[in-house]
Symmetry: D2
Subunit: 385 residues, 4 copies
């Protein structure tokens, strides 16, 4: 994609480009912290897409993916609108501790930066109660968006204030909730590509260039993808039950896309992942048919409940043998733990074995672990998609 570098996005006759800055937090010097918002408005109608990256500050590859998406947008025939928000967490991105970026949680209180988005089942229920069976879908969508966003605004304006992570999340969510398609770009610790997909959007998983798919149910646990699809899912289910004769498909999809390891960027990988996203967006009519096509790979899926965490049974120094993305048979050795107190005897090295057939998806990024550290996350009971 890099051959397009000399072209400007403003040269693309199919879209209008604008850039603005969104204030999302204020630091201890009393200064506003803002994030760039890149907006591409196609001249033809189409879905609205929202993409953000680096809500976890050390997960930086998404910024490169956004860069590569922008390179493609210099010549692409965009339909609808794409909003790109790279490096969307200026607090987390700048929190160093030692050489690494301590970007997964607020250093003050441990709050995960991706767990404070807004979801209020009762707020949604109040909306459902008022929907009429013959309302036009587009109008319901517009009203639902306004309804949820006013709920977000209510939180943001509370007398007693709002916590930092929640503020950051809500300010981004206000943007994202206007979109039909939301992509939240992440990385794992030492990780292969994987993607979280709501069970109903399983079909869409075929278009990303990502071999490992986690299918998640309609349960809100605080993240942006859930904060996007759970309300619409709840709305659809309730209306379908209430008015079963009508098709209540709002066409909203949201994904958490994990594109490899944190603390690293690679421009080539970024181009590959951007192409996958563009293939998915082509499938969703953001570009003319066949503008971008997915790669042909085997995709494995797992239900969220079968995506298992393996905790360190003991503290020590670990060599990770099982490689992310590579199938491991039951009882194969996944890791070896060195015990510095027993180097001269047979307790020097202990082995950690796969408790069942599995695909390790990611592992802890440090050799030094306490007992109870998340060593691996693994697909078990997986199946071909």
């Amino acid at each position: 994609m890099e051959e397009q570098l000399s072209l400007s996005v403003t040269d693309n006759p199919h879209l209008t480009f604008s850039k603005e800055y969104l204030v999302v937090a204020q630091n201890a010097s009393g200064r506003n912290l803002n994030v760039p918002v890149y907006r591409f408005k196609g001249h033809a109608p189409g879905p609205k897409v929202y993409v953000q990256s680096s809500i976890h500050g050390a997960e930086v590859q998404g910024n490169v993916v956004i860069y590569q998406l922008i390179q493609a947008l210099k010549t692409a025939r965009l339909k609808g609108e794409i909003i790109l928000v790279p490096n969307c967490n200026p607090v987390g991105s700048n929190q160093k501790s030692g050489e690494y970026t301590l970007g997964r949680f607020d250093p003050v209180n441990g709050q995960n930066w991706n767990r404070a988005y807004h979801y209020d089942a009762q707020l949604i229920q109040r909306f459902i109660d008022k929907v009429k069976p013959d309302e036009i879908l587009a109008e319901i969508k517009a009203e639902f968006r306004a309804h949820i966003k006013s709920g977000i605004d209510e939180v943001l304006s509370r007398t007693w204030g709002v916590g930092l992570a929640q503020q950051l999340n809500l300010k981004l969510q206000r943007f994202a909730f206007d979109a039909d398609i939301v992509l939240d770009l992440h990385n794992g610790p030492v990780s292969c590509r994987h993607i979280y997909v709501p069970e109903y959007a399983r079909e869409s998983a075929q278009y990303f260039n990502i071999p490992n798919v986690i299918l998640i149910p309609n349960v809100f646990a605080g993240a942006l993808d859930e904060a996007t699809f759970c309300p619409w899912w709840q709305l659809k289910d309730a209306l379908s039950e209430k008015y079963p004769k009508r098709d209540w498909d709002f066409g909203i999809e949201a994904f958490t896309v994990e594109m490899g390891s944190q603390e690293v960027i690679e421009f080539t990988s970024g181009a590959y992942d951007a192409k996958g996203i563009l293939a998915y967006l082509t499938y969703k009519n953001c570009f003319p048919k066949d503008s971008f096509l997915p790669v042909e790979i085997t995709r494995y899926a797992v239900m969220l409940k079968d995506y298992k965490i393996m905790y360190a049974p003991t503290g020590g120094i670990v060599e990770y043998l099982a490689q992310p993305g590579v199938f491991a048979k039951k009882n194969s050795v996944m890791a070896r733990v060195l015990n510095v107190d027993e180097l001269e005897n047979e307790r020097a090295v202990s082995e950690i074995k796969a408790p069942c057939d599995l695909i390790p998806i990611l592992h802890f990024p440090s050799a030094s672990v306490l007992g109870g550290t998340q060593l691996y996350k693994c697909f078990t009971e997986f199946f071909e998609l």
Copy 2:
């Protein structure tokens, strides 16, 4: 209490003392981390009491309170049993970052050290379903304890392992769940004395030397006090509904006791708080009547929902004017924020005012705050107990 220093606990003819060490974690050197368990067994029957301190590593004053309790136990006529576990989190206590102790959460993943205790409503329901209406209370208690502890053991022995904070919490909870009375000793950041009391045990709040009382409902949010009383509360409510003619009082109480500010110890304050605990334990028949008496003070209480967090409306440098424990009128100035970019004009200093009449209980321990920092926690709608 310090005059008893020369006496040994083993000189007390009313009790038997023993000390053991409980392994609760394993560090990155592969070494076991243990905590001391001080056990005082009275020769007369009475309740079983469990007291721990410093599950949050920087909240160290509880260790002094335990020290002072032990001084008192050198001569006290103990009935029943008291188990004291000071410094119960050897990971959190030793996590420095700068000069302070980063002890509120696991530095690896942000997990609060006091939010991973075990509670499983379905496990409890299965027990309830099997209780017979005429079973002896003491037997139900013993069976319920065994039932819950086997649930804890099941978690601890899972094939895929258990996370560090959860391991630590469960190993302590196994001990605590045998007790009738559980005290979890904490401190606030910059804080006055306050105590969390389950609504049903409101009467007991009169005995501690603590002027500020938060009454909490039967909702589990992960802490030890809740993990102790919620199961019994659920059991009692279910049995009372099922068999309303019988009195289902199991006599279990649990409290989170917050005894001033973190990062500080004071032996004199510790003696004062130990006396309050001893007064409460006297009321609960752990000592002969009138062995220890509470101080006469006015106690204010608040329902948990009215215990409000005030978040910083802006980042900056803060002078905290409202003092913990001192009533503040609506619109009084609680804090001043300095803005280093506007020192020459009228935006240099902004004021934060009380949104209603309140008692500030604690405030943030650093002058430097980002927007959205927890500045104060306050009693609103409080009442005399």
Copy 3:
């Protein structure tokens, strides 16, 4: 001083005010980090003064002192020029780790933010070699400043780049080296007021409102005060030896002023310290005679070599009994250490005693210490100034 709040600095007919921003670093989002520079230029001639605060990010009280200086400058008859740079380290000020500010060193590599100023004895020597015995003092000063600043510029423009702390320091030093008087405002951990004074400027220590004075020799250890006075001291000594008949007093003074404890601001204390600084500046002819006068207090001084660090002899939990600023007799108990493993016996509490008569100036801000932690810094062999 606060009654002047409604006045603007621009109303003061005796001076011209301007504000600018100096870029001192660039963060991981690729954004410039700047600091405000407040400049007050008196219409009458006088010395040039440079004041900065918070090079250590948690030492925030200096920002309040600068605020109070500005309040005074709204009406004061300034002679010469005062440059104020509050919150001069935007990296350190915003580095949280837990609730506190990790502002003493670069979190990436441990580099103290106040130890990378520039000093090059050979660079100075080259200048000395060229000074002629009959040159005008003001010209020598101007040339020396240009010489040193070109040395700083050379470092800043090196092909291989410059480290972050050094960049920050050098960019500030470029400003400071133009001044005749440099004040670097700091705080200790838990601390009373004290000031570092070069031995030759001992007389000036009488004017600050600070009772504890550390006299330091002509040795460069990396801090701003040394980086200011060491070059001039070296120049003076060399020229005095070379041309002993002439008086080579360049009138340069520099101080590190420590105004109490970190992590706290107080507007009232800030006004008190601002008055002391103004009294000193009055003595140095920055204001008309008697504009501001020092308070009458006893001042104690110590030679730097007698300013001793007391290290924790053991790990444990500490109650600090000796109060900063309060004389402690030899063998008096300064601190008590609680040992959580021995609470039932006579090893529960150990005492740390003063090894000689001393004034404790500051102590560690956390009760939890490892063996070898700096517990106290103390004046020994001190004398009345």
Copy 4:
């Protein structure tokens, strides 16, 4: 080497094995922290060797190298004595901050764990003054060791105490100073193999399996290798000047060996590096001739002054293109920096080029850098050894 796992070191008829624990620090729980000391005493005479690893807590591969050395010692014909101290810094090894180990410096004060060893030129000079020209070399060595160690003991027993890093360093140095050969095993951030060699021991660099050699002069900067060879070098130089007719070679060598990247262990690489060390020790007569032989590789050397740090010219997100250990031509692109604020234009990506022909040895382990971060360390003006 792993085939020897079933053998025990005690089966080796050529040596006597013992293990002990050395207390090196005390944590905030008041508990001793110790390190294991593995001692192998050959039945034949030979040099005394001291090897330690992980003084920087995240640099863990040395522990595997020590493990592999022990495997070899199960059958090797050891002459002299080898002392192995793995994981020698129990504070640093257990300091997590986020998922990584913050092991390079004391988290309290930023003190590098490898910069507080003892060196006192005047102490050495006092010894030199007393050496007689005809003393037996072995006696001078023994007396010098006693002299230096009494200097270390004096520091450790100071009235005012000793700082934590210095305590840790001195307790290890006491052991190390008895040795003829000292190896301090380290890792770089993302790094290839390299070794620090005192200029006089250049010949020895041919025996390690390490292609990149840094030759260092007789300057003490705080590290263990310097603390070992600087005193002997100073002694030798002084005696050689004083009594030039005699050969004053004490046969002492010390090296800092950097064996790849931190935060990672690999058993295979560990065996390779262990073999290199054994080859060197064979050359030094710790094993019979040809017991272990070095690999044939080209070794490049650089004088310390030509081992350059490349600092980030700007903050941003970095792709590291130049690979550690791989020659880079002048003006070749070493890294690309992404600027998230300019993704749509030609300032999106900037390139960092090699300022001269060089071998990059290591680079920063995180993509996120502030301006002034150490991006690369590089050999310039290197030559074949």
